[in-house]
């Protein structure tokens, strides 16, 4: 299908799950009880995506809190810090690298299998990449940022191998930190080479909220098939550099501003998508929101995605796809 639609990964957590997570933190809810709520929320999230008509689904990350902390909790070598500020009045617990990194068992494969069992559509597997894991953790163990990143790359590669063996055909690696320190792009590229080595599934890297222009076109050396990028939030400033140096990979084109409460109209989303067609071949475009939807309300997330689907169908018709 032309212009496949997908999402970046996270969906808003329903109130009952937020409540259960809070109670779990206080020791008032058992792990197996929390798991039931997470499974229920995952089922609802997948049903929602099927109803809206998305083409490539995600599990919604109902069982994850912060995108780095979740993996740190499943890897040996990490501790978790006390509360630190993210921005405004938001706080989180940040991973701390305290020793050699080891993956005692697969981290996301069970959840992927469960999620895939709930739909006939392909289920995208989503992991946080090694460079972002390193950059967003405190490090009390490694001698250098390079050493930490490459150690993480090795264990994340093992997870990809297991996901592929389980049947995952689309795997997304989130590396939002890549666009922040241009001097370390070669490190991120080296790490991604390790992560995706020998993996035949479609490999997507998601990058957001940084200076993409500063890492383009060098970023195309990341060993992936597709770049899922946050673009609408910056009003498509990036399209000019993409025109100047050919974009040699697939683009996951961000058409929904996930930091805005406003639900875009299908017309507005259609306008955005048509801009993609000016720059990229239509068979190289996937359509998705800028970033994860977890900070939106459930109604906003649904409304935005419905507009995205409606707009994509209209554009497909226009181009005879």
């Amino acid at each position: 299908m032309m212009l496949p639609t997908s999402t970046i990964g996270s969906f808003p957590k329903p109130d009952y799950l937020r409540d259960a997570r809070r109670k779990f933190d206080r020791g008032e809810v058992r792990a197996d009880e929390l798991r039931r709520f997470e499974e229920q929320a995952t089922r609802e999230c997948i049903r929602l995506q099927d109803e809206i008509g998305l083409d490539v689904l995600v599990d919604g990350e109902m069982y994850r809190g912060d995108m780095t902390t979740f993996f740190a909790q499943h890897l040996e070598g990490f501790g978790i810090s006390g509360l630190v500020r993210s921005y405004g009045n938001r706080y989180y617990r940040k991973p701390i690298l305290r020793g050699p990194v080891r993956r005692p068992r697969p981290m996301t494969v069970d959840w992927w299998r469960f999620a895939q069992s709930l739909t006939r559509k392909p289920m995208k597997a989503i992991l946080t990449g090694p460079y972002t894991m390193m950059d967003w953790s405190f490090d009390e163990h490694f001698e250098s940022r390079e050493a930490a990143t490459m150690a993480l790359a090795a264990v994340i590669h093992d997870e990809l191998v297991d996901l592929e063996a389980a049947g995952a055909r689309v795997i997304q690696i989130d590396e939002p930190a890549i666009s922040v320190r241009t001097d370390e792009l070669p490190l991120a590229i080296a790490a991604m080479r390790v992560v995706t080595k020998g993996i035949r599934a479609r490999k997507i890297v998601h990058i957001c909220y940084g200076d993409l222009a500063a890492i383009y076109p060098k970023m195309l050396e990341l060993a992936v098939d597709q770049f899922a990028l946050e673009l609408s939030n910056s009003d498509y400033d990036m399209l000019e550099p993409f025109k100047r140096a050919p974009f040699t990979k697939e683009i996951g084109f961000g058409v929904l501003d996930v930091h805005s409460h406003r639900v875009e109209s299908a017309d507005k989303v259609g306008e955005r998508l048509r801009r993609a067609l000016e720059v990229f071949p239509s068979d190289k475009i996937w359509v998705n929101p800028d970033c994860g939807l977890k900070t939106r309300t459930e109604a906003e997330a649904r409304g935005k995605l419905e507009a995205m689907i409606q707009a994509t169908r209209a554009v497909r018709e226009e181009i005879g796809a």
């Binding site: 630190v84 500020r85 993210s86 921005y87 009390e140 909220y209 939030n233």
Partner: protein, 327 residues
């Protein structure tokens, strides 16, 4: 004389009981459940708490912890006429964000922005309380300019406006005023703009006011020959590396005081005080006879509160031990 200093921010929440009070109050204020006055009362209480905590760590030059600041720019920009506040942007290469100010008209100072909170904090401090103002260059560099057209003109307009603020702080009794200009560490070619704006900003301050240029989240290496001529009394510099700004200290003759960011404010790994003391002893010919403050490399609010406290304890211990070695 070697002493210890906090740079600017300090964690406003912590993991212990009662340390979430301000977070809860801000959330309640956002929903309208509590008034501005009620929020201010909680912020006052937390300000007093973090000042006491810094003093307990042994810090000589403390701050209010900037516990009321949602980021480093918006609190200043909101207080000036001519700014609006727009979307979230990453704060340098950290995993934190700030709301980007937008200049939509002439930037003007209308009324004191930080003075009330400074006076409250000072009334709670038993050590010297540092006042911190985000500098005109960094404010201009990180904001969107829809009015002036040139970065230099924009920065100068902010400098003229903020000059009234630093004067008001001095009149309110601020004896140590730090002007934060972190953006210069990553945009060294802009130095002439910073120099010009800073000169306007501090012009006319009483001689008794100690002024400090605060730089962090990057080094001043390559710029040190220029910064030593700036019209401030103290240079606040990050020197986590031996081969960066630290190695340049020896190469220039200058009379300014130094606030040395020797403890990594971005990592929980605790430095060994003995290592840092040895570094200072190696640099004793440069440091002796000068006002020197041992400090974290930046504000501490993005560390867990207990780690932040231990970093400050470490700074105080280093200052004490190095002073003994120098004596």
């Amino acid at each position: 004389m070697l002493r210890s200093a906090a740079v600017n921010s300090y964690p406003r929440v912590g993991d212990r009981g009662g340390q979430q009070k301000l977070r809860a109050a801000i959330a309640h204020h956002d929903t309208g459940a509590i008034s501005d006055e009620e929020l201010r009362a909680v912020a006052d209480e937390i300000t007093a708490e973090v000042i006491a905590e810094q003093e307990r760590a042994g810090i000589d030059l403390v701050t209010d912890g900037q516990v009321r600041w949602d980021d480093s720019l918006a609190p200043i920009a909101r207080g000036l006429a001519g700014f609006e506040i727009a979307g979230l942007l990453r704060w340098f290469d950290t995993n934190t964000y700030y709301r980007q100010p937008v200049a939509t008209g002439p930037i003007e100072w209308r009324r004191p922005i930080l003075v009330r909170d400074f006076e409250f904090a000072r009334s709670r401090a038993t050590r010297t309380l540092k006042a911190v103002v985000t500098g005109p260059y960094t404010l201009a560099k990180l904001s969107i300019d829809r009015h002036y057209g040139k970065l230099g003109d924009f920065a100068m307009a902010i400098a003229r406006a903020l000059r009234s603020e630093v004067q008001a702080l001095a009149s309110a009794g601020a004896t140590f005023i730090q002007i934060d200009e972190p953006a210069i560490t990553r945009n060294k070619k802009d130095f002439p703009i910073l120099a010009e704006a800073l000169a306007v900003l501090v012009d006319g301050l009483p001689k008794t006011t100690c002024t400090c240029l605060g730089t962090y989240l990057g080094e001043l290496a390559g710029l040190f020959a220029d910064v030593v001529d700036l019209p401030v009394d103290v240079l606040g510099i990050e020197c986590l590396r031996r081969d960066g700004t630290w190695s340049e200290l020896r190469k220039h003759s200058f009379s300014k005081g130094l606030q040395l960011g020797l403890l990594d404010a971005r990592n929980t790994r605790l430095e060994d005080p003995s290592d840092v003391v040895e570094r200072l002893v190696e640099m004793r010919t440069v440091l002796r006879g000068r006002d020197v403050w041992i400090a974290p490399s930046a504000g501490l609010e993005f560390l867990p509160r207990e780690t932040a406290f231990r970093k400050l304890e470490c700074a105080a211990e280093i200052a004490r031990r190095a002073q003994e070695r120098f004596a």
